[in-house]
Every structure is written in structure tokens, then in C-alpha cells.
């Protein structure tokens, strides 16, 4: 993964995780499929969790169900139905989850509870805390799912960006410059940042440019992991923007 960080999106495309899954023809036995899926699940488990919670499931059950769904996703045959031509991981996952939940209702949930290996380290407290933070809205569960998806994506991107800076010993620079990702700074901001970081204004501008370039690269890369073709990337971003 670290390796992928150093590359720009266009070179990534041949090997994005979702294309790996699709290329394996949905064969869950293929090890690369497994890796790719659990890696994706690691990033996007929270939208799943909160979708399940939103169905009226209590916290403990929701956690189990999320684990179970991810396990099934990786082990079982959901992937056989995927149409590679119009595949976006997000839509696939939501469809699979629905399918899973409707099957689940027919089963005795209690029997299944607790008996599975935990594949993904979901921090339950974190999950519940986040869930409670969510604005209660009139949004449909699907839209909420998409919204959380977008937030999970951004979390992941910012995490990677932060890691980059931390690794090169420039965590302070990242913290100080972070706000420029949402808004263009004005001249006094540059001057203030310069003073704060003991850098010249010009150096700050260079740093801002680099941060933005890097962020953009990571964001596009992360989205690219979940779509099948280059052409879908901007469409996906657009969809995510609309659901926020």
C-alpha cells in the first residue's frame, strides 16, 4: 500500500483493488481477491455498519452482522453476479448488503452470533460514538449509506496524507496547512502560517501547492480503487459530492 502511495493514479489503474476483484471473475478463492476485498472492507466498514444500524438493529447485532457480511463477501459467492462493465464497488456493496440482510432475516440470528472470526478490526465504541454523532435526517438509508461512504473515503485519504507527512517528519506542516484543502488562503493567512512554521511566504505557497497536489492525487487514487474504469472516476466523485 505504501508503494501505491508514491504513484500517481493513472498508473494505478491496471491494479486497483476493485479491478483485481473484477478480473478474478469473482473467484473468491483467488488470494488477490481476498486481499483486495478485505483491504476495501477495512476502509468502508463503517457505512455498512451504520446502514445495518439504521435498519433498527442494536449495536451489538450490528457489529456482528457487519463482520458476518464482510466474511461472507470474502468467502462466498456474491461476486459471481458482478457485471464488470458497470461496476462500482459502492453500488455493488450496497446491493450485496441488502441481499445479505434480507436473507439474514429468515435465519435465526442468535445462532450465528459470536461464532465467527473477526476479520476486520472494527472498534465498536468508535462505531457507536460515530453513529450517535450523525445528524438525524430525513435521508433515505441508501443516501445515508452513500454519505457515510464519502466520509469514510475522505477519512482514509486524509489519513494517508497525514501518514505521508508524518513519515517525512513534517506532521506540524500538515496540521498547519490542512485548512487550505477546503478553502483558499488569503495573504494574511500565508503570512501567519509563515510565522507559525518559520518559513518564508514563498515557501508556504510552495508547501500549499504540494499539499494540494498530493491530496488530489490520493483522493483520486482512493476513488480509483473502487471503480472499474478511468472514465468512472469523475462520475463517482460527482455522485459522492451529490450525496453530501
Amino acid at each position: 500500500m505504501c508503494d501505491s502511495i508514491t504513484r500517481s493514479p493513472q498508473h494505478h489503474f491496471a491494479t486497483t483493488r476493485w479491478t483485481v476483484v473484477l478480473a478474478a471473475g469473482g473467484d473468491p478463492a483467488a488470494p488477490q481477491t481476498r486481499d483486495a476485498l478485505s483491504s476495501l472492507a477495512q476502509t468502508y466498514w463503517y457505512p455498512l455498519y451504520s446502514f445495518i444500524r439504521h435498519q433498527g438493529c442494536p449495536a451489538q447485532d450490528a457489529e456482528d452482522l457487519t463482520q458476518e457480511f464482510i466474511a461472507k463477501l470474502i468467502e462466498k459467492q456474491y461476486l459471481a453476479d458482478v457485471d464488470p462493465a458497470k461496476g462500482r464497488f459502492r453500488s455493488f456493496l450496497l446491493a450485496s448488503l441488502r441481499h445479505f440482510l434480507s436473507n439474514q432475516r429468515d435465519h435465526d440470528r442468535a445462532a450465528k452470533r459470536g461464532g465467527h472470526n473477526k476479520l476486520i478490526a472494527l472498534d465498536q465504541l468508535d462505531a457507536e460514538a460515530r453513529y450517535r454523532l450523525e445528524p438525524s435526517t430525513e435521508m433515505t438509508p441508501e443516501r445515508l449509506f452513500d454519505r457515510r461512504w464519502a466520509l469514510a473515503l475522505l477519512d482514509r485519504v486524509l489519513q494517508r496524507l497525514r501518514d505521508d507527512y508524518v513519515r517525512s517528519g513534517r506532521a506540524k506542516v500538515y496540521e498547519a496547512l490542512k485548512p487550505v484543502l477546503q478553502a483558499d488562503p488569503d495573504v494574511p493567512t500565508y503570512a501567519k502560517l509563515g510565522k507559525q512554521l518559520a518559513m518564508s511566504e514563498t515557501a508556504i505557497k510552495v508547501a500549499v501547492h504540494r499539499l494540494r497536489t498530493r491530496y488530489r492525487q490520493l483522493l483520486r487514487d482512493e476513488v480509483a480503487q473502487t471503480v472499474a474504469a478511468d472514465a468512472d472516476l469523475d462520475a463517482e466523485l460527482n455522485d459522492l459530492l451529490n450525496c453530501l
Binding site: 508514491t6 504513484r7 500517481s8 493513472q10 498508473h11 460515530r130 454523532l133 450523525e134 445528524p135 464519502a150 466520509l151 475522505l154 477519512d155 485519504v157 486524509l158 490542512k178 485548512p179 484543502l181 477546503q182 478553502a183 483558499d184 488562503p185 488569503d186 495573504v187 494574511p188 493567512t189 500565508y190 503570512a191 501567519k192 518559513m199 518564508s200 511566504e201 514563498t202 515557501a203 508556504i204 505557497k205 510552495v206 508547501a207 500549499v208 501547492h209 504540494r210 494540494r212 497536489t213 491530496y215 488530489r216 483522493l219 483520486r220 476513488v223 472516476l233 469523475d234 466523485l237 460527482n238 459522492l240 459530492l241 453530501l244
Partner: protein, 548 residues
């Protein structure tokens, strides 16, 4: 806690679960494709992708395309054996079709290899792999000047730090007999410490003459940065062409615009040191013989100016400037200036003497009021001066001022100008500080004048009277200087509410756009950031010149 914060950019409320407290919508938007692919090459040439290139260069890995254009493509690569990151520049193969190309390439590459200077991108290697001509050079992890200009402009102070570095590099190259021929913001790189590194020395010559007669993609640099003789008689071009291009860059850094056609001196556009006009205009002389003859001359001049206070900030010029000054940005050549200044001083002296003698029979306490009066005069002068600056600023950059403030005049000035270079959150602390500070100064001043009176014994003879008056009049510059410490044109103007922004301007770093010189309002050192002008995206992906 319950009050929801709004995104400073799009003004929508921030949801409580927004990632790292940043607005999710704006974050996503930043990742969207630019509306126009800036700098997309117009020639049919597509640079080889990383895998293809790896076949040509087995000794390199981690290949990453970082910029491309009609004149080639730049990759960031790692030299496996040396474990260092370098920039690899590939020239379009069709250039090689030109019969003299290989020879020219070899000759210029040799010359470029001699350029070992801290402000010049170092060439490590050049050569040919099958049909690809390439350079391997120092990789600069930073941005180019175009990016910096696009992301908020450059203050005159920064410009005056950047220009001498460019001059140094140019002088060094010229001493080595190399003319750059394509100085422009895209070729001026800045590393992460803000140091200048000039790229593509001599490249213009390799890639086929200086005449922009081919397809647009083949134009060497943009015509806007080219010296007139470069267009008219390319054979006669010498190092002074670089000095012209440097002048264009300088002009653009100061004003945000390109000096096209009949252009104004920079001080007409922005509030800057008036002495810079002379420097900029002289580098932009059409006739090479009338320009500075050496880049080092420009450097010396700029550094001298940077080291001494601006004429208009000189305390002795305050009154003169108040009356004549800034209207045309020509303080020192305005023939009436000095005369009027003297006239003003005499008037003020007579008035002050008259007022003083009015008060002379009154109680001591009145002196204090009198002193305060002079002090306030100084503050008021500052206000008048600010108003003049504001009018000029409005004149030069009407876009930056919301419509209504053009009408509200003084009120707008007081609203906008109350705090210098600081954001709004510190308005009150600053004002309180200002008041407290002023009171302190006035009290000390009054005490000083009282002691002075006491020592001399008030009003005993015309000479002492003069001295006394001068002592009291000193309150004027004191008030002025004090006020200007706190009070200046705003660094950033508040954005007018709900003003629809025009479509973001996409600056093409590579391909020339003959229809648009990409003028951009720009901040000047002390004041005015074009906050309303900043565009969300910039053509960062198409940075051909990066590293080369």
C-alpha cells in the same frame, strides 16, 4: 458547542462528523477533474507511459509522469543504482526529424552541463535512447512560479526576494555564454524552502529556433515573455533578451498582469515602492541597448531598493505625499511636489503659531489639549493618506472591491482599514491595544513637552517660541507614525456576500493562449489579497516544466 460552524469556502454548515473538521463537499470538489485540462498538448504526441518508458530506461524505476506539453514530458524517476530521485525529460520524437537536431542537442547539452549554480537546475545526463532524446536532471520537489502566482499571488516583498535570485542565475549563465531564451514563470521553480531554481536553460535553442512560426505547441515559450528582437530578428538575440523576459516576469509578479501594448508602470496598478517602476520599465525597453546590460545590474538595483525604505514611507515626505503624491504614482517627478510641501509646512507653521499664541494666556492645562490636537492631526493625516491609497487601490483593482464600497467611501475605509495584516478575529484586541498604546504615548509626550516648557520657561523670545512650536508640532509625525503602525489598507477584503464567482480561470502553464494574457489582479505587499479571485483548481497536473 451547539452553534454550527460554517465552511469558510462554500458557507454550508459543517456536519459534526466532517473529517478532520474540514468541509466534506469542498474536499471532494478539490479532487474533481479540472473543467478544462490545462496545458493539454496540442500536438498529437502522447508521452510514453511509465511501463513503456521503463523499457527504454532499465536503470530507472518508480517512474511517474509529472508533466507534459508540446515540448516534451517530464517524469519523476529514481535512479536505481544511486537511489536518488531525479527528473527525466523526454523530447517529442518529431523534433528529431529536423536534420540539425542531433548536433544542436549535443552542443547545447554540453553547454548546459557547464551550468553548475545553486539557482539553476543541474543537468546530470543527456542522450538518446532509440528515437527518444532525453535529459536527466536535478529533481525539484516544489512548485513553479506559475503555481505560486495562481495560488494567491506574490507580494512585492516576495517578488523582490525572488527576482535577485533569478538575476544571479541569469548572470551566471550569461557569463558562461548561455542565453535562456525562454524565461517565464513555468520555468522558474521554487523548492520547498522557496529558493529559486531555473529550469530549461538552452532548451529553446535545441527545440528549434526562437521563432514562433510553427504550430502553437511548438512555440518556444509564450510570446508574451519574449523580447521584441526575439520575434523580429531571432538571429540577433543575445543575453539581453533574457533581461527583457525577466522584466515581464517582474511586472507580472508586481501587478498580476502582463505588460502588453501600452502598459502602465507598476505603481499605477499597485501600491509599491515607486523606485521599482524605473527598474521594471528599464528591463522592458524595446531597444536592447537601453535595457540594463547585465542581469547583475538588475539584482543590485532591486536589492538596493529592498534595503532602503520606500520613498513614500519616508517621514520627511509625509506632507508632500499628502498633497501631491500618489495620484499618479509619481511623487518624485511631480514638479510642484517639493514646492507644495514647503508651502504646506509654512502654512502649518503660521497656523500653529497663531493657535499657540491664542492659547498662550490660558492656563497650563490647555497646553495639553493643544498637544493632543497636534497629535490627532497626525492621525488624521494618516487617515487622509489611507483614503488616497484606497482610492488608488480601487482604481487599480476594482474587482477586489465590492460594488457598494465604492459608494460608501470613508465608511468603507474605516471599516476595512481598521486592522493591518491581521484577520478579523483580532480586530477588538488590536483596537484596544491601539487605544492603550496611543494614550500611553500621548501621556509621555505631554509630560516631555511640559518638562521642556518648564526648562525653557515658556515664551521668552522668538527663537524659543519657534523651538517650542516645533516641539509641539512633533506630535503630527508622531501621531501619523503611530497610526500607521496599526492602520493600513486591509490585507484581505471581506468577500461581498453572495457574489457569484465567474467561472474559475484556468491558467495554462504550457500551451500558450494567444487570446488571453491571463491577467490576474494581484496583491501588493501591505494590502489586498485577492480572496475573491482565487480559483479552486489550478492546472497542477500539467506542469511540464517541473524538474525540467
Amino acid at each position: 458547542m451547539t452553534s454550527q460552524a460554517n465552511c469558510p469556502s462554500c458557507s454550508t454548515p459543517l456536519p459534526p462528523d466532517s473529517p478532520e473538521g474540514l468541509c466534506p463537499s469542498c474536499l471532494i470538489r478539490k479532487g474533481m477533474a479540472q473543467t478544462q485540462r490545462a496545458g493539454e498538448p496540442q500536438s498529437g504526441w502522447t508521452p510514453p507511459d511509465a511501463q513503456k518508458l521503463a523499457e527504454y530506461f532499465p536503470e530507472l524505476d518508480n517512474i511517474d509522469l509529472i508533466g507534459r506539453g508540446g515540448m516534451g514530458a517530464v517524469y519523476r524517476v529514481r535512479q536505481t543504482a544511486l537511489d536518488r530521485v531525479v527528473a527525466l525529460k523526454i523530447l517529442p520524437p518529431q523534433l528529431a526529424a529536423d536534420p540539425g537536431f542531433a548536433q544542436r542537442f549535443a552542443r547545447e547539452a554540453q553547454a548546459m552541463a557547464r551550468l553548475n549554480h545553486p539557482h539553476i537546475v543541474t543537468l546530470y545526463e543527456s542522450g538518446q535512447r532509440q528515437e527518444l532524446f532525453f535529459f536527466i536532471m536535478e529533481y525539484i520537489d516544489g512548485a513553479n512560479l506559475r503555481h505560486v502566482i495562481d495560488s494567491g499571488g506574490v507580494s512585492p516583498r516576495e517578488a523582490m526576494a525572488i527576482i535577485p535570485q533569478i538575476c544571479e542565475a541569469l548572470q551566471f549563465a550569461h557569463d558562461n555564454g548561455i542565453v535562456h531564451r525562454d524565461i517565464k514563470p513555468e520555468n522558474i521553480l521554487l523548492d520547498h524552502q522557496g529558493r529559486v531554481k531555473i529550469a530549461d536553460f538552452g532548451l529553446a535553442r535545441i527545440t528549434g529556433g526562437d521563432v514562433p512560426q510553427h504550430a502553437t505547441a511548438m512555440v518556444m515559450g509564450t510570446p508574451y515573455y519574449m523580447a521584441p528582437e526575439q520575434v523580429n530578428s531571432p538571429q540577433a538575440v543575445d543575453h539581453r533578451a533574457d533581461i527583457y523576459s525577466l522584466g515581464v516576469v517582474f511586472y507580472q509578479l508586481l501587478t498580476g498582469e502582463l505588460p502588453i501594448g501600452k502598459f502602465d508602470p507598476p505603481s499605477r496598478k499597485v501600491v509599491i515602492d515607486l523606485r521599482l517602476d524605473e527598474v521594471v520599465l528599464r528591463t522592458l525597453e524595446k531597444e536592447p541597448a537601453r535595457r540594463y546590460q547585465h542581469a547583475s545590474d538588475v539584482k543590485t538595483r532591486v536589492e538596493t531598493i529592498a534595503a532602503s525604505p520606500a520613498l513614500q514611507d519616508h517621514p520627511g515626505m509625509i506632507l508632500g505625499i499628502l498633497l501631491v503624491a500618489q495620484r499618479n504614482g509619481k511623487v518624485k517627478v511631480c514638479p510642484g511636489g517639493i514646492f507644495r510641501m514647503i508651502f504646506t509646512l509654512i502654512t502649518v507653521y503660521i497656523a500653529a503659531t497663531a493657535i499657540t499664541s491664542m492659547f498662550v494666556s490660558l492656563a497650563d492645562a490647555r497646553y495639553d489639549l493643544l498637544i493632543l490636537f497636534f497629535f490627532l492631526c497626525g492621525v488624521i493625516f494618516r487617515a487622509i493618506r489611507l483614503r488616497a491609497d484606497q482610492l488608488l487601490d480601487m482604481d487599480a483593482k476594482p474587482q477586489q472591491y465590492p460594488k457598494q464600497s465604492l459608494l460608501t467611501g470613508w465608511r468603507a475605509l474605516f471599516r476595512l482599514a481598521r486592522v493591518r495584516r491581521e484577520d478579523k478575529s483580532v480586530v477588538w484586541p488590536r483596537l484596544i491595544q491601539l487605544i492603550a498604546y496611543s494614550l500611553g504615548v500621548v501621556i509621555v509626550y505631554i509630560a516631555a513637552v511640559r518638562i521642556y516648557f518648564g526648562i525653557l520657561g515658556v515664551w521668552t523670545g522668538p527663537f524659543l517660541e519657534l523651538l517650542t512650536t516645533i516641539g509641539m508640532l512633533a506630535g503630527i509625525p508622531l501621531g501619523y507614525i503611530l497610526a500607521s503602525r496599526f492602520w493600513d489598507l486591509p490585507a484581505a477584503l471581506p468577500e461581498p456576500p453572495h457574489t457569484a464567482q465567474p467561472a474559475p480561470q484556468v491558467n495554462s502553464p504550457i500551451v500558450d493562449r494567444p487570446d488571453s494574457p491571463a491577467p490576474r489582479p494581484q496583491s501588493n505587499g501591505e494590502s489586498s489579497a485577492p480572496s475573491a479571485h482565487q480559483t479552486a483548481g489550478h492546472g497542477m497536473e500539467s506542469d511540464l516544466k517541473h524538474g525540467g
